[in-house]
């Protein structure tokens, strides 16, 4: 007979009890599998390194040293023969062979909010609907039952965070502003039996509210959000948010910055089976002192990005994890009188790779004189999105119904053959 005390045990209690009694063979085989599986067979994840404000392609992945538009930025050789990147990215240059470089992204949005919307959703802003961001789309299309923490996580502050859009707010990312530290409010202030009693009472009160409001109350997702919060409170997977267990040298490799910790947490989350993670690094909006700012930001970005790629590779997670590095647009080839660069949505760069995509490719080129606006082999935002979506095994042409009854394709573009192997 099972005592009433045992019934009140959480999954966490049960797990530790089972392990302690060497009854681990009783554990359901699915648990922990996501964390153990490796290689291309593993379910796919996406890590987006979002460079808010619009990073300069010329100071990062598409330098033109020695030209009028290149400014003082120097270039260095990388592990990809013949491919140079900005000299501030020496460590990334050692890892870039695992990714590809796209130097010909073309957007039509030169405003931060509109640009960020486009580069996060694959759709230009539309006054009649809000599109889901890529992370929300992947989470909605590829759910997971074994992950007890949110499947879509945004680390550090972002001015225009991703949204669930017409999928609903339940697909909004779970936001962590200070990654690496313990999450807040995860412990109930009362013991387990009292919490259980409270929850039983809550069901009674909710029942009264539902009378005559079944549909509207369902739309609030209140009960659903509580259920998710409770499941998270009891989960051992919460440790993915912490970096304490990581060895000191690894933490040092990512850099002692909140962004570095964010990238390390991103790896831990992906390892746990989280579908989509955004790590935000902002203030790339360098209308003045472009070169100084970019060199400063590189000190944060370069070690974290390089360590992330290396770490994923060493753990055999890169084959299942797409890493995407981009911002809402690039910056003008022309250097303005304040030594700055302005918004430039035509011909900017991103890094993309992992998750079974091609490696070591370089797509497109911008004009070293800065006279020609259009790059060679232009890549549309829609096609970039279609490539990622296809790699997750999702049919991008599939039509979803928005709440106002308007059919909408998941994605407007076509996958890029050059990035698919």
């Amino acid at each position: 007979m099972i005592s009433s005390h045992a019934l009140q045990m959480s999954r966490r209690d049960l797990l530790s009890a089972a392990a302690g009694c060497t009854l681990s063979f009783l554990l359901p085989p699915l648990l922990g599998r996501a964390a153990d599986e490796r290689g291309p067979a593993r379910a796919k994840s996406l890590i987006t390194i979002w460079l808010g404000g619009g990073p300069s392609q010329l100071e990062t992945w598409d330098p033109h040293p020695g030209t009028v538009i290149g400014g003082p930025t120097k270039a260095i050789e990388t592990r990809l023969s013949g491919v140079q990147i900005g000299a501030d990215y020496a460590r990334t240059a050692e890892q870039i062979q695992h990714l590809s470089v796209v130097r010909s992204l073309v957007s039509q949005e030169g405003d931060h909010e509109r640009g960020a919307y486009f580069l996060k959703t694959g759709y230009r802003p539309d006054p009649t609907t809000i599109h889901p961001s890529l992370g929300a789309l992947l989470t909605q299309q590829v759910p997971s039952d074994s992950v007890e923490i949110p499947l879509y996580v945004s680390l550090l502050n972002s001015e225009f965070p991703g949204r669930g859009g017409y999928f609903g707010d339940e697909y909004d990312p779970f936001k962590v502003f200070d990654p690496g530290t313990a999450l807040h409010n995860m412990e109930a202030p009362v013991d387990r039996s009292r919490l259980a009693k409270r929850e039983q009472s809550l069901a009674v009160v909710e029942q009264s509210f539902l009378k005559g409001r079944k549909v509207l109350a369902k739309g609030t997702l209140h009960a659903e959000t509580i259920r998710k919060a409770r499941r998270m409170m009891d989960s051992t997977q919460l440790k993915a948010f912490k970096v304490e267990e990581e060895p000191a040298e690894r933490k040092a490799a990512y850099g002692d910055t909140s962004f570095g910790r964010g990238c390390l947490v991103a790896r831990r989350l992906v390892e746990t089976g989280v579908r989509a993670v955004e790590v935000n690094l902002s203030s790339f909006d360098t209308h003045a002192n472009n070169f100084e700012f970019h060199t400063g930001h590189a000190k944060t970005l370069d070690p974290a990005l390089a360590a992330l790629i290396q770490d994923l590779k060493e753990r055999d997670l890169l084959a299942s994890t797409i890493v995407l590095v981009l911002g809402e647009f690039g910056r003008t080839p022309k250097i303005n009188p304040l030594d700055g660069r302005d918004h430039w949505p035509t011909g900017f760069s991103c890094l993309i790779g992992g998750g079974g995509l091609a490696t070591g490719r370089v797509i497109g080129a911008t004009d070293p004189t800065g006279e020609k606006t259009a790059p060679t082999d232009p890549v549309s935002i829609q096609d970039l999105f279609a490539t990622i979506i296809a790699q997750f095994g999702i049919n991008g042409a599939h039509e979803m119904m928005t709440p106002i009854g308007r059919p909408m394709k998941l994605c407007e573009g076509k996958p890029l053959a050059a990035l698919l192997t």
Binding site: F174, K214, T220
Partner: protein, 544 residues
């Protein structure tokens, strides 16, 4: 001897207590009468516009074949009113008084009473300040958001016409401290230089309910706004300078005429732009400073955008979501929005009185509908009813409403400016902490958003929630545990302070079973559990 040593030992404590008592006494409100009903609110006759609005909606519903929800219970409407107008749920004190009020139009009286409450001016000035100047801190000393908010609150309290408020803030000269209305302009100072683009975008969004910001760099992609429309409007702020004596318009500076010029994005050359309005040229006065002329044009009775925009915003603040969403992206006025147009006409022709507008909306049938519908309605029918405002929407309470409702529920007495200093100080800090953790919605607080996992965790496990439900001699749960006459009364009082209603028979039976047999100290935890349950319900977190 012994007595003397006791006196010496206790003296410092006595001094501390004395000072504390004196401080609290000195900072109490000079008004001893807690309730001055409907103070400062002129009794205007709002029957005619209410009837017109009611007729309009009834006609829409009839034509669409929609059966609207029944009228909501009065207490439920009172809760909506309190949350919308003073940001807190009604106190037990207020509920008792309301229930004893036998006037047939008691809701209209209580609307006026909340409008006359000092909490209204304080609360609404913050809501309007968010639309007018945003939530940013701005430039130190040259911008004083707190002073601007106080000035707005004073205007609301006096009942200054809305157009006068707006005209004053657009055209005012002076220093941020002495002339608090200039802070509308000063909010756009950046390194002591006015960001005319920011100010122009905000002027059009906040006062005309339209977004032309993206015409700053290019023609609006789907509207008719052109870049030159934006530049022409921005030129009205082109002579505004921050001088040693504060904000003022200058025709000349250092002997040179002040012109407004913009840098061409393609050629990087400066070109001069003359002030020009994109529509209603006839309403721009020939005389006055550029800002004064702009202020007159914005607030002109012919400028229908002005009235529609504020009506839509006030609707949003009362219902939790604007009539037209987003609140600051209304179509041009030649595209009719009958409900807004009706309200806007009444507003314009009755002194642009914000309190009257609130009374009209709050007095209408559509505001007083239940959020419950007949169970047999299909999902499609419910969706249509929701779209046509035939049922009161469920809207997530904003963070400041959540913490104020929770604090109010933790107390029996009304928590307002007349509360004791020892209650007001923690209230102030608790609010700031809670709003930050729950997620401040910033400038766009009327966006329709769902709840998040961190919010639920904060309510279930957070310190603030825990403190407010803990049974102590000063909290509601503690006082109810100790002083209510019976368990039935205890449950009823908890429901009234937390949810502004009485328990259903099922709820009553459930909690009676939980409380039965508990005496003395055991009652405290049981009441805490009851409060936890109510605080974590959908009903508590969502306006309904």
């Amino acid at each position: 001897m012994r007595l003397r040593s006791w006196v010496t030992r206790l003296a410092p404590i006595g001094v501390v207590c004395g000072v504390a008592w004196l401080t609290a006494w000195a900072s109490r409100s000079p008004l001893t009468d807690r309730r001055i009903p409907e103070r400062g609110v002129a009794t205007t006759d709002v029957a005619a516009p209410i009837a017109a609005i009611d007729r309009h909606f009834q006609q829409e519903w009839t034509e669409a074949g929609i059966v609207p929800a029944a009228a909501a219970p009065d207490l439920q409407v009172l809760r909506r009113l309190a949350l919308a107008l003073v940001g807190a749920a009604p106190s037990l004190e207020e509920i008792r008084e309301f229930e004893a009020d036998t006037r047939p139009d008691r809701l209209a009286h209580w609307t006026r009473r909340y409008l006359g409450d000092e909490r209204f001016a304080e609360y609404f000035s913050e809501r309007l300040a968010r639309a007018f100047v945003g939530t940013e801190g701005g430039q130190f000393i040259l911008y004083r958001r707190d002073r601007f908010k106080e000035w707005l609150a004073a205007g609301l309290e006096k009942g200054t016409p809305y157009d006068e408020l707006v005209r004053t803030m657009i055209s005012a000269d002076g220093l941020s401290t002495g002339e608090p209305q200039v802070n509308f302009v000063a909010a756009a100072l950046n390194d002591s230089v006015l960001d005319t683009n920011k100010l122009t975008g905000r002027t059009v969004r906040a006062f005309l309910g339209q977004r032309i910001d993206c015409a700053q760099c290019h023609d609006h992609p789907f509207d008719h706004w052109k870049q030159r429309d934006f530049e022409g409007l921005a030129a009205f702020y082109g002579q505004t300078k921050q001088m040693i004596t504060g904000i003022e318009d200058r025709l000349t500076l250092d002997g040179k005429p002040v012109e407004y010029s913009v840098e061409d994005r393609m050629t990087l050359k400066q070109r001069t732009v003359e002030p020009r309005v994109p529509f209603l040229e006839s309403e721009i006065p020939a005389e006055g400073t550029r800002r004064a002329r702009l202020a007159n044009w914005v607030t002109s009775p012919e400028n229908r955008r002005f009235d529609r925009a504020i009506v839509n915003r006030m609707w949003g603040l009362l219902f939790g979501k604007p009539f037209h969403d987003p609140v600051d992206d209304l179509p041009d006025p030649d595209e009719a929005i009958p409900a807004l147009d009706l309200l806007a006409d009444d507003f314009r022709t009755h002194g642009r009185d914000l309190k009257r507008l609130i009374q009209v909306v709050a007095g209408s049938r559509v505001y007083q509908l239940d959020s419950r519908l007949a169970d047999e309605m299909s999902e499609g029918e419910i969706a249509r009813a929701e779209q046509e405002w035939a049922v009161f929407p469920l809207i997530r309470l904003r963070p400041e409403q959540m913490i104020r409702a929770m604090r109010q529920a933790a107390s029996i007495q009304t928590q307002d400016h007349q509360s004791h200093l020892f209650q007001r100080i923690p209230r102030f800090f608790q609010e700031i902490d809670f709003v930050r953790e729950y997620g401040d919605l910033g400038d766009n607080e009327l966006q329709d958003r769902g709840g998040t996992i961190p919010q639920r965790l904060l309510m279930m496990n957070g310190n603030l929630a825990h403190e407010n439900m803990q049974a102590t001699p000063i909290t509601a749960s503690g006082r109810i545990a100790n002083f209510a006459r019976s368990d039935e009364k205890r449950i009823e009082m908890a429901y009234l302070v937390a949810l502004s209603r009485r328990p259903t028979p099922e709820e009553q039976a459930h909690f009676l079973a939980q409380l039965s047999g508990k005496t003395g100290d055991e009652r405290g935890p049981a009441l805490e559990d009851l409060f936890w349950t109510l605080f974590n319900s959908t009903e508590f977190s969502w306006n309904h």
